[in-house]
Symmetry: C2
Subunit: 505 residues, 2 copies
């Protein structure tokens, strides 16, 4: 028997024939132990219908792996095999992990600057729309997408989904019988995103439902979470998002269920993918300090609070809904493109990550934020450009230049990459004619550039002489009223500008 070569962080799949009588989804257990030398990893298997059982393994170490299965069914128990894990190729950089406390990196060490978008129900639309969505994503600069496993029932979302997620038997959904075709389709789209280098931020629960998915029993929910972990966990681009707007479900899903979902993921996902939970009301944030939460995933328009959220939770902040660009009647979906670009810059210049969504109304109710399809707005091009610009320099993550509670960083935003030292000062609604705060306090050899975040231009800046302060003594304290600096830069006096300062040589 030839041993298969599998790239590190790719999927090794074992398919087995087993019992199809009764309800294997409920009754049959399957797992495998994958071993490399003395190390072993428990990998859960899953039922795929028609008597077919699968095990998926994502090796994270190169070398010779072997496995043996364990099952409650003798037909599935004790199967053995091997694989040879080889070096990754192409855009395979492994799963994204937390790095440097507040930031992310691929497993190969390359930085991941999260530029996500949102298409809640794109995998539930007609297939031609899904193809269009993938084409749009390919042209965009987004490297993460939030997407629901369940379809969405909501204004502008009244069409029937492509598949039922569970089987409909005699007109009623049976939440103990997955529609395996639906899961096969869904993971196919995770795979397409993986090929494109896009992280799939999978939303497990949400309140926008007319099919009963939001009203499954506690046991059904736990089994669903475990099934998803077993089935999708080997896709390196998967992130686990327990919910969109979990707090709107608290009347039927109490808080301890949410904690338990996290725990099940810890038990059933041997790869420890990123895990988060997303609030609805701004005041309803889950305690993201809990150990199973890898990063905070929030919605909040008040992006100058980004540092406060970092301080509160001590984890990366991903603000996936700082409101959406669009023109809907709903207040969460109608900010201007300029404002969304401004919120991205403000968020990243305060050490967090923002998310995109687009909600322009049209007769067909084909709105990107839920259905995918086409982008109609003006923010996405600026965000693509922003990502490319930042990726030139940012390696370890952008750390705020100062405490947000203290002048001047309460007012303007600035950050420096912890590895390259490249510094950015984002002035936003401020329009100084000359600037120095955040620039080096000792002179040296620097490359200075003016970034126009809306017009997407980079223009070299010369050093200028900073204005003199005025000594103001009061008691033992002397203030100057002007920022200390070795040099200044002269600016055109308009809004939406940033300054970049690179160390030369």
């Amino acid at each position: 028997m030839t041993v298969q070569n599998i790239e590190k962080w790719a999927i090794f799949e074992v398919s087995l024939e087993g019992p199809s009588d009764g309800n294997p989804y409920l009754d049959v257990t399957l797992e495998a132990e994958f071993s490399l030398k003395g190390r072993s990893i428990r990998v859960p298997g899953f039922y795929d219908g028609n008597g077919v059982y699968k095990l998926r393994f994502m090796p994270e170490t190169e070398g010779a792996w072997s496995y043996v299965t364990r099952s409650s069914s003798s037909a599935l128990d004790g199967h053995q095999g091997a694989l040879n894990c080889v070096a990754p190729t192409g855009n395979n950089r492994g799963p994204v992990r937390v790095r440097n406390k507040f930031h992310f990196a691929y497993a190969d060490g390359s930085p991941f600057l999260s530029f996500g978008t949102t298409c809640y129900a794109w995998t539930h639309q007609p297939l031609e729309v899904q193809e269009q969505t993938l084409q749009t994503l390919a042209a965009s600069g987004f490297n993460k997408i939030r997407m629901g496993i369940f379809p969405k029932h909501y204004p502008y979302n009244t069409n029937e989904p492509l598949h039922d997620v569970y089987e409909v038997i005699d007109g009623a959904r049976d939440f103990d019988r997955p529609n395996f075709e639906s899961f096969r389709h869904f993971e196919g789209q995770i795979g397409r995103l993986m090929e494109m280098g896009i992280e799939a931020d999978l939303i497990m629960f949400h309140p926008y439902d007319r099919w009963g998915y939001a009203d499954m029993s506690e046991e059904q929910n736990y089994r669903y979470v475990a099934y998803i972990a077993a089935r999708f966990g080997a896709y390196r681009n998967v992130w686990w998002a327990l919910a969109n707007e979990y707090d709107f479900l608290l009347n039927t899903m109490p808080m301890d269920w949410w904690d338990r979902y996290f725990q099940i993921l810890e038990e059933e996902d041997p790869y420890r993918h990123l895990k988060s939970i997303h609030n609805g009301f701004v005041t309803a944030n889950y305690d993201h300090r809990k150990p199973w939460v890898t990063h905070s995933c929030i919605q909040n328009w008040d992006v100058k609070q980004t540092q406060a959220w970092r301080d509160r939770w001590g984890k990366p902040v991903v603000n996936d809904e700082p409101e959406y660009e669009g023109n809907l009647i709903q207040s969460w979906g109608n900010i201007s493109a300029q404002e969304l670009v401004h919120r991205f810059w403000t968020t990243m210049m305060r050490g967090g990550y923002a998310g995109h969504g687009e909600t322009y109304w049209n007769e067909e109710e084909a709105i990107w934020w839920a259905k995918g399809g086409l982008l109609h707005g003006e923010a996405w091009t600026r965000l693509k450009w922003m990502r490319e610009l930042l990726e030139q320099d940012v390696k370890g993550g952008l750390e705020p230049l100062g405490e947000a509670a203290k002048f001047p960083w309460s007012r303007v935003s600035g950050a420096a990459d912890v590895e390259s030292g490249t510094t950015y000062i984002y002035l936003g609604e401020h329009q100084p004619r000359i600037w120095t705060t955040g620039l080096p306090v000792e002179d040296g050899d620097y490359q200075l550039d003016l970034i126009d975040t809306w017009n997407m231009t980079v223009t070299p800046l010369d050093k200028a002489t900073p204005p003199q302060g005025v000594a103001i003594r009061h008691g033992s304290v002397t203030r100057h009223g002007s920022p200390d600096a070795a040099f200044a830069v002269e600016l055109p006096g308009k809004t939406g500008l940033a300054i970049r300062c690179r160390r030369k040589g």
Copy 2:
């Protein structure tokens, strides 16, 4: 002897000759009891130099008043007189008071919507600049000005003041000897503002000093506050502002001094003018709940927090520094005109009041925010228009339409006048194509208008059909995902718009 007729809320002044030897500022006490029938009011007097002592009285009730003086000096003691208080005329509406908990009104009951500006040291500039300032104010729509009693030492403020506030003797200032000429000039300008219907928000202390005014002794400070109250209190347009940025003075003026200043004002100002204190750092707010504080006076750029501040202190919020329009190197003085107009609308639509300042750099360092002179920016015309627009309807004060912590009022801003019921929804950075949130939930006869806050236009709006929601049942809760409303309005899909809804008939 003819009894003088004095308008209600005008100034009745008594001038007496008394001792000029020693230091009357320290040594001679003077007060009067003003009586109307069985009611009497203690009015403090003050020394005006050259053996001249004065008493100023602002009658608040029409009728026959009499007075008798009391003094430590026999030359000043026991003087008697009378005045006849008559109805006010012209723009004399009396002092501004707190009304409806979070709002202001003149003593005659007419509403006061605070549209203030800031010229810290305008009375210390050359006289021709002061005349220019008054002309500029007359053409502007501002009805309040923040102004320092002491001159200002700061970047762009290095020129010598017109007068020393205390006498310079042998090259040193003697803080026990006021320069009465300086005080006469200052109150003359308070009077000019009073004639123009502009409130004078008098700043007593600030840290920006090179003359020693910020380092007077505790006793000298207390005497200074009492002197100001006695001298300026009869001007109906006076507001007491203990400080600009009191927290930068805490290293030499501990907190109990600030409390004591307030208490002295309560003791020495029989008219109970409005009293406030102003922070520097955003985190350093005085406890504005203290009983002697009539309203919170703050600086904070984060204007969507206005309701939180109202809730915290239970008093009117005057955010006198939501940052200034300009282009300085200092981050407090370089936001765009659009942004400042946006912050005014956001603040007022959340039940507070904002303040203007303008800080455009020029070679002459003639900057409105400190020196007055000319306005160069673009916000002031919009604010004048805004005031005129709101004064058409707002009588009792603008109360927020909902809790800021809760959707949708965390995102957009809206308020209704408590008397007329006229409702405004300010959309700011939001650009819906159709809107209904905040409009009446029951149909009726309404006049609807679109307000373009930047272009200063008012355009009638027709009622439109609101989009249907979608019933989303989850447990016992049904949501619709769209706001409930009797009708909607269609909008042009741009930023900076407000909707006005008036009840007809």
